[in-house]
């Protein structure tokens, strides 16, 4: 990862307004890959930043999933992971704080983990806000500046 972002820059990207496409559920095309299912949807922010919603789920364990909001680094093929909503399929260890837990957890990009040469989203917190992948997607949309969320939540679960 060539790009380093400060906490303020990360916060600004998270808050940048992102319009949920009207046909969001139609854009969700699950593709079968070796051992997992996935989809990716690109979204433009109000300030022209480019984002990508990334979903992965193991075919062998439905609780092994990730819903990721990535920032597409300009002029590269690389994605900087701003947030990652993980299932319950492994322990997580915050290497700097030396704390470990097992459960649903949310990764968030931080400046300090990048400086310490860990992955940008190496810090995570355990959560009980969701218990499956649809709930994780809803949490991500609520947390990360998405606008135009329909009151009808069918689009969140119809895939």
């Amino acid at each position: 990862m060539g790009l380093q972002l400060t906490d303020d820059e990360i916060d600004a990207l998270l808050k940048e307004v992102k319009q949920v496409p009207r046909d969001f559920h139609k854009k969700i095309r699950l593709k079968e890959k070796r051992g997992h299912k996935e989809f990716e949807i690109n979204i433009a922010g109000a300030d022209q930043s480019r984002f990508r919603i990334i979903f992965r789920q193991s075919k062998f364990n439905p609780l092994d999933f990730s819903v990721i909001l990535g920032y597409i680094i300009p002029n590269t093929n690389q994605v900087f992971r701003l947030r990652r909503y993980n299932g319950k399929s492994h322990e997580h260890t915050n290497k700097i704080e030396q704390e470990k837990f097992y459960g649903f957890h949310i990764h968030t990009a931080t400046e300090r983990y990048q400086i310490a040469d860990w992955d940008e989203d190496g810090y995570a917190e355990q959560t009980d806000r969701y218990s499956e992948h649809h709930g994780a997607l809803e949490c991500m949309l609520k947390d990360c500046g998405f606008a135009g969320l329909s009151a009808d939540k069918a689009f969140l679960t119809g895939w």
Partner: protein, 267 residues
Amino acid sequence: MTIEAIKEKFRVTVCSQINLRQEGIDRYRVFTPFVFDDGDNLAIILKFVDDTWILTDEGHTLMHLTYSIEARELERGTRQKVITSVLSRFGLEDNHGELTIRIVGDQFGDALWNFVQALINISDLTYLSRTRVYSTFIEDLHALIEETVPEGRRGFDWHDPEHDPDGKYIVDCRINGMQRPVYIFALPNDDRVRDATISILQFERWGQSFASVGIFENQEEVNRKALARFSDVCDRQFSNLPANRDRIAQIIRGVIGGASPGDSSPL
């Protein structure tokens, strides 16, 4: 501190970080101190299957790699060779993306260490991920089509919903509303040229009537054999986008304006 005391410290520290937790019948999660670079610990399950204990990652390791490497990149070239080599050296099996190791006799500890070493070796593939300068070719082509074709008459990343519900054969843009729709293929590299060739042949097998257009990012860089095969099946090609923007736009406007492929239209 004596060497015996140090040895005991090692033993206690390492052993205390290995743990099991039951999650179902004959299914246990194995906790170890080993982590990926994002702090997520390796996913390891101990299961009793077909009268044998196995360790499995339930597809987690390869899926985890796809956070930074495209899944298809794991199935070719150096990455594929590394994965195959690691699986072979440590005695693992790849069950359609699920990595497993069979436990022989009571050698649970040996199997665990082999499994852990293999998963860590495979996770190191992230260091082979390459940052590539991103070409704006695809975006530029999309922009040109959006400028030229009304929204209701274009569909990006189209696939045949009847014959191909999973989207194996993708058309970068399908222009509709004519007797014969136009399938536009964006061709930035050899792989995409080969994919487009296969797609066109498949559409023909399904009896579809269409006109195909291939637009290369740089035709001069495409593998000669791939280009020859594509040329055999594609109706119209453009060697690059920047030098052909006006011509492509003119042709598309002509087609959506009513010119049929049988007319003197370029398709």
